[in-house]
């Protein structure tokens, strides 16, 4: 068996039964998922309205909101906020990866660190992520031992346990969190009515990235907008459950810069946390897709990564299926949305497992069928 075969089999055996157990133990989650789908569709059907509302809401609570039509604009906006020679800590974000943010900020002379353990390993290995919530699932424990030894130059025993490996990274990143000038994260959901962003995590790195540095920048695709604060909480709940990590260790809510109301109940910003909060909303193909009745379903994806572990093609090809970070069945859809790449869709075997397990009820094979058709149509027009 290859390293990938071993790693993915272990992941499936750990994760898939745990999701089934969660859904059976907390049956309300499936109802919440249905409610969330409706709310997200409402936004997709009125995207411009909700983008405007979100930006107004963020400004109202003391933050800054920006709209970027493509990754170049988004990177420029962020680069201006960050500046040069800064220490930047990143929370795992597919959109940040989509815009090549880490490398871009480094080129500008900043020290940039991924803080999600999996993404940190990916950064050390200089490899693309293989799964959206567990970016280093292609690495076995044995590989991680070797990587930490080589890249961090620390003593790591051949037989180091998972716990020991995590402790080594913890020690390394703690120093970065404390010294960081800017924290950049994604957003699992953005509430249009309040301008709040929600982030789900287990490690504690998001909390530190969003609170310790004086500046917090959140980057997200426009499809992450939901109508209300309530729906944002739903998205966090549903995402964690279908990712197999329920209850999540932390759900982080950020509504503008840090604040206090402790003196005469007057709300004052900042307090102990960041002095600045910035939200960068990215289009990069999403708005156009929202206007197509079949393809817009892809924008409902909440990035739980469940479809990956039920897909025969992902099981075989792993990171080589899709354009990173968009791998797996959802990635075959998203590779087209943001990169215009139709090839991943052509590798779908339409096994249908993905549509069965998708919490948002996305008929992924049908979306991929349409993308195949688009590819064929382009080919047809060439001949």
């Amino acid at each position: 068996m290859s390293e990938w075969d071993i790693a993915v089999e272990r992941t499936i055996n750990n994760n898939v039964p745990r999701v089934y157990k969660t859904l059976s133990q907390y049956p309300y989650i499936q109802d919440l998922a249905k409610e969330l789908r409706k709310a997200k569709l409402e936004v997709l059907n009125n995207l411009q309205k909700y983008v405007e509302q979100t930006m107004e809401s963020v400004k109202r609570i003391g933050g800054n909101a920006y709209y970027a039509t493509n990754v170049y604009e988004a990177r420029e906006i962020i680069a201006k906020i960050v500046g040069k020679n800064k220490i930047v800590v990143l929370g795992k974000s597919m959109v940040a990866y989509e815009m090549g943010l880490r490398e871009y900020l480094k080129e500008l002379g900043n020290e940039v660190w991924e803080t999600d353990l999996g993404e940190f390993l990916i950064q050390l290995a200089n490899e693309p992520p293989s799964h959206i919530i567990a970016p280093a699932i292609h690495m076995t424990r044995e590989r991680v031992v070797k990587l930490l030894r080589e890249k961090l130059g620390v003593e790591v025993s051949e037989n180091a346990t998972h716990e020991e490996l995590v402790a080594i990274v913890r020690k390394f990143l703690r120093e970065k969190f404390v010294r960081a000038d800017v924290g950049i994260t994604g957003a699992n959901a953005i509430a249009a009515d309040t301008g709040s962003i929600i982030l789900v995590e287990n490690e504690g790195n998001i909390r530190m990235s969003t609170v310790l540095p004086p500046v917090h920048i959140a980057v997200a695709g426009v499809e992450k907008i939901v109508p209300t604060f309530y729906h944002a909480l739903l998205e966090a709940t549903v995402q964690a459950a279908y990712a197999g990590l329920y209850p999540p260790t932390y759900i982080n809510l950020t509504s503008g810069p840090s604040s206090t109301g402790d003196i005469e109940m007057k709300r004052v910003r900042p307090a102990h946390g960041p002095k600045e909060f910035h939200l960068v909303l990215l289009d990069n193909g999403r708005v156009k897709i929202s206007q197509d009745e079949v393809l817009k379903e892809a924008l409902l994806c909440i990035r739980c990564g469940r479809c990956h572990l039920h897909c025969p093609v992902y099981r075989v090809l792993g990171v080589n299926w899709g354009v990173p970070p968009f791998t797996g069945p959802m990635g075959a859809m998203w590779s087209y949305i943001v990169y215009g790449d139709t090839k991943p869709a052509t590798l779908c075997t339409h096994s249908g497992n993905c549509k069965e397990v998708c919490p948002m009820g996305i008929n992924i094979p049908r979306v991929l069928e349409k993308i195949k058709w688009i590819a064929n149509d382009k080919e047809r027009n060439k001949t």
Binding site: N13, P312, R315, V316, L317, T349, H350, N353, I371, N376
Partner: protein, 285 residues
């Protein structure tokens, strides 16, 4: 473009690639020609083993067209074709024993167009669906008994493109009950289409369950949303991927039972490279 070539072949040969039509029809001996109810093979069982051969030719598809006379000579092996015929004859016999009356179109039987649909050639599929629908209507066909999931699925998708109102039923839905021809434990490799798109998973499972064999199940191998594809549908696009999926699938299934039973000719063809595979119509009567 592959879709255009397939469409041209369909018009010329009545099949996605050049083939001697007698390969498709020789299994049927005493079935009446035509009628309101027909058994519809779409030549899937008969040519399933050729999918492997023709996937090798796909990179040279344009040349294949000019070599059609030669390509027409490619036939399944004697053993493969005899087995496919036995399966179809078993299906036919099971239906007859239960009093189901049906005809067969013999050399007039059109292909369903499934490969166009599955490769995303929706324009060509829609155009072809209209041709086949008109043909069925001209023949006065009111009910079609399918024997494989790809054909069944393709026919049900016709209505997205044309006015298709003919009843489509899978043969195993007409069997009522069956008796096992083998003893002991089996593991079922579900057809993706039957299981997750057409809602028929429980129909053949319940037939097998009551037939006398014992189905071995495992949540991570045979569950509705965990059981994997055989790799067959991706073969025309990526042979290597198709073969890896098939190999992996057989390894999973063998851990549960040596007796692997399928309900689809494409699953049969793709998995058979790695293990002895039994078709549903070979294990029941």
């Amino acid at each position: 473009m592959l879709g255009k070539l397939i469409f041209q072949n369909l018009q010329k040969f009545g099949f996605p690639y050049p083939i001697d039509k007698s390969v498709c029809t020789s299994w049927a001996k005493d079935i009446p020609r035509g009628g309101e109810t027909i058994i519809y093979t779409s030549c899937m069982y008969q040519t399933a083993s050729l999918s492997d051969v023709f996937s090798k030719f796909i990179p040279y598809a344009e040349k294949l067209s000019s070599l059609s006379a030669l390509a027409k000579l490619i036939k399944p092996s004697k053993e493969e074709i005899e087995r496919a015929y036995r399966i179809l004859q078993n299906i036919s016999l099971m239906l007859k024993r239960r009093g189901v009356q049906f005809g067969y179109l013999y050399e007039d039987e059109p292909y369903s167009g499934a490969i166009l649909l599955e490769l995303g050639y929706l324009d060509e599929f829609g155009e072809y669906a209209k041709i086949v629908t008109d043909f069925f209507k001209q023949k006065g066909i009111k009910r079609i008994i399918t024997v494989d999931p790809h054909t069944h699925n393709a026919l049900l998708r016709y209505k997205e493109f044309t006015n298709f109102d003919i009843e489509v039923v899978s043969y195993f839905e007409l069997l009522g009950n069956v008796k096992a021809r083998i003893q002991g434990e089996i593991v079922v490799h579900d057809s993706c289409l039957y299981s997750r798109f057409l809602g028929k998973r429980e129909v053949y499972r319940s037939l097998l369950n009551s037939s006398g064999v014992k189905l071995v199940e495992d949540e991570l191998v045979t569950g509705k949303d965990t059981s994997y594809c055989c790799g067959g549908p991706i073969k025309p696009v990526n042979r290597e991927l198709s073969e890896k999926i098939a190999r992996l699938r057989v390894e999973q299934l063998k851990r549960l039972s040596e007796n692997i039973v399928v309900v689809c000719p494409m699953c049969y063809a793709n998995l058979s490279k790695y293990h002895k595979i039994l078709d549903f119509a070979e294990v029941v009567e």
